[in-house]
Assembly symmetry: C2
Homo-oligomer: 492 residues x 2
């Protein structure tokens, strides 16, 4: 491809002759890596017209650059970036301009430095990825997703693809969620009680902005999803962390007062505890006493391959107290970024207005593709297939963990895709994680899930959503060996 | 499709016999519209197993519902929702539950009630849509977009499609923006100075959150993009509106001090003024004096069919003072929700962390599809084709406006897709808009673009991005007639 003439600009403040400026502009383009070897430059006629200089000036600049081996000329086809041109440095040079801004002062708010750990982008290259929440190419129904995406790209769906929905959603997806997805969780909702979001992350974020202020108090489970804690910390509300037990969040341990309680009753994150029905009712009653709202993150309810999922907390709610967060990102694939909020109209109205201000709406094409994938039954088949595979992996996990005597701290009674683990006191699972990466094993250290300055460092999570059953025994053996080595070394 | 058995739940607190509860559950499903006529119910055996009741109880409930014409039985194939079942009410009944929450108290913040006007979702049904920012099916390159989307759905791109990028973006799209898009605007940027956003809306929103607080002051142009004013109002910063003139924002009219200046130099929104080079330099100098940052919204620079676009403000910036907002949503299609931010690293780092908290990242599939569309040159061809069509439409607009003596308040000298109009003093363009809708004409009343409590009501915007040239004369004639009628009636 020829380099488009529009990408060349002369600096209006530059010094020197026009010819020198043109030479410098091109040489800098090559040195910065912007112009690659072998690419064709615009003809001298075109570049001259574009820059408003005479053609001879450009020709002289090109010829000079050729003499310096930045460019080569080929008969009749013009000038190209030379194969012998100076290499752009491995690390690109800084801009000639200076940054004169005092960013420590200019930034009004900071959002970096949260609890959410950095995760390896290249997780799929590890042979033993016990990593949570990534898609497994062996499980995903690529063919049917492609088929649905193609259908949603058709002429009939042109408007669903291209239109600015303003603050609305794809009515076809909303209808499917209302009629088919939510009833499975015992929830009845009208279309204007549902808002499509960019994954559960976005649903939790919107909820926190609408319900919390600096004067309000939120309760989180301890441990809990680290990204939720980042969201709440950024909202600057008061934060009370309540330790969970084997049945999840204990209503008796809730503080005197709170405005919003964030909970994962079906499947506590990360311990996998399922809250029994009696405790769900007690939690609702306690919230009513406190006049608190409850945000129920019902992630992974579909992964119930060992027992039927219990009805959601929202299905027991008679007061309009529970705001429900659902997600397709986990069960279809995380790059999809598609989830939803269900709640009373006054709440959904504000969340919708905020979403419109932040991003308008999730792309229409993705909403329509998901509507087809769900409506044609592919989603249900995918869940069934995943359940079978996850059940086999879970069995392999249990066997390998038992064989090596690794201690399980929490497992979902109905299924799920991960096991919460506890190493001996004194273990530092972040150090173990670093050592294991060298051996091709990825685990998730548990510390970021915990509240407070001195979180326990001996917990970790092992997910089996992305690792084939056949790899599990060897992977667990490597973990057990690394733990034994670290223990012998007296821990780090 | 049969109604999945999982969508049925008995209320754990319900009164009455099990049979009565089952009847009620199904009747309510039909009355609420959740179960549609002709849909098949689960077999009595499956439903009984799912609910944990005896099969005869379900059979008795079904038979009773059949007697009441809620259900019909067909030999061997089971029970179906009857065609004679009671109609669900036109407006769905409220839930049996009561909303016991005082939402006036429970909402921490409100986001509704902004300046952004409600726009008709069904704009494409109007014969004369002088509406801004929607895709024209006649201009969009559907075939090649589909081709690129399909390629990005292939096995080779599986990871780009499905993966959770955490806080990162598709490297292929970032590289294209850095190497090909930004150089056209005279901008050199490294990948870590670029962040992909959910359209320009999301870019402006992220910028406001990072740079503004309740103690800081933002400058906006008056008039300006209403959604930007909503974003800044929600951020609770101090807001100073500076009236624009025929050259855009006048640096001399800036207040003594401000922290951030939002401007649209290439193409003022909505007046279409282009800021001359001398004023751009003066604006940069004034901002340096004030130690203010500048946010440059460079929307629609591609629509330069009458003259080449001037280099961006950012290309003149030697201090790292300008944050640049670009968008593909306008030029590809608005439902795409794809734009980008370019700025100094310390700023991009915070915007990236905030984006991760709000939504993680724009869907990978959309990023990759756009990267192909751009990289294969389809974007450039699309812009060339659009430019030709827009030039013809612009000519038709100018001719029709002149013929009917309608007064132009601002037109882009280099092109653009809309004309800013001024009716006589006393005209209320919202009333005229309502009257015109009945005649099939959509215009945009100008009042929401203005700052303050008593905005002028006699401005309006006429876009030609979605209306074919052949329809323009008749559409303008209808507008002129409606304006004349309103004037005769002494205005509203």
């Amino acid at each position: 491809m020829a380099i488009p003439v529009e990408t060349f600009f002369l600096d209006p403040d530059a010094q020197g002759t026009l010819q020198a400026q043109i030479q410098q502009m091109i040489a800098e383009g090559i040195l910065s890596g912007r112009l690659a070897k072998g690419e064709r430059l615009p003809s001298s006629r075109r570049l001259a017209a574009h820059l408003g200089v005479s053609r001879i000036t450009v020709t002289l600049a090109y010829t000079e650059l050729q003499a310096n081996d930045y460019l080569t000329a080929r008969d009749r086809s013009g000038f190209f970036v030379s194969q012998n041109a100076p290499e752009p440095p491995r690390f690109a040079p800084r801009h000639p301009k200076q940054d004169r801004i005092d960013w420590s002062r200019a930034l009004g708010r900071r959002f970096t430095g949260g609890a959410t750990p950095e995760k390896p982008q290249d997780w799929s290259r590890y042979p033993y990825p016990f990593i949570y929440g990534q898609a497994d190419p062996r499980l995903f129904d690529h063919a049917n997703w492609r088929h649905c995406a193609l259908r949603a790209l058709g002429q009939k769906d042109f408007q669903a693809l291209t239109t600015d929905y303003y603050d609305q959603d794809d009515p076809q997806l909303i209808e499917f969620i209302a009629r088919h997805t939510l009833p499975r969780r015992g929830i009845l909702a009208e279309p204007d009680e549902i808002l499509v979001t960019m994954g559960a992350q976005n649903a939790l974020w919107l909820t926190a902005q609408v319900l919390l202020t600096q004067r309000r108090t939120a309760v989180v489970e301890d441990p809990c999803y680290h990204a939720l804690r980042d969201i709440l910390t950024q909202s600057r509300c008061h934060l009370t962390a309540v330790p969970v037990d084997h049945d999840g969040l204990p209503p008796g341990a809730l503080p005197e007062r709170a405005d919003v309680i964030f909970t994962t009753p079906s499947h506590q994150c990360p311990t996998n505890a399922t809250m029994p029905l009696a405790r769900r009712k007690a939690l609702l009653a306690r919230a009513a006493e406190m006049e608190a709202l409850i945000v129920e993150d019902d992630y992974e309810f579909e992964m119930s391959f060992l027992a039927a999922p219990s009805p959601s907390l929202k299905s027991l709610d008679r007061d309009g107290r529970v705001i429900y967060v659902g997600s397709f990102s986990k069960s279809i694939f995380p790059g999809l970024r598609l989830g939803y909020l269900v709640g009373p109209r006054p709440f959904i109205r504000e969340a919708r207005a905020l979403r419109a201000s932040v991003l308008r709406h999730p792309p229409g094409h993705i909403q329509r593709t998901a509507a087809y994938f769900l409506g044609l039954g592919h989603y249900d088949s995918l869940i069934r297939r995943m359940s079978g595979v996850l059940a086999a992996r879970r069995e392999a996990m249990e066997a390998a963990l038992a064989e090596h005597g690794l201690r399980v701290a929490g497992r979902g009674v109905f299924g799920g895709s991960s096991i919460w683990m506890r190493a001996s006191e004194g273990a530092d699972m972040e150090a173990v994680d670093h050592a294991l990466r060298v051996r091709g094993v990825l685990i998730e250290p548990g510390a970021p899930f915990f509240h407070g300055e001195a979180p326990p460092r001996n917990f970790y999570r092992l997910a089996y959503s992305s690792i084939p059953a056949a790899k599990i025994p060897a992977g667990i053996a490597l973990i057990a060996r690394e733990l034994a080595l670290s223990r012998q070394a007296g821990w780090p």
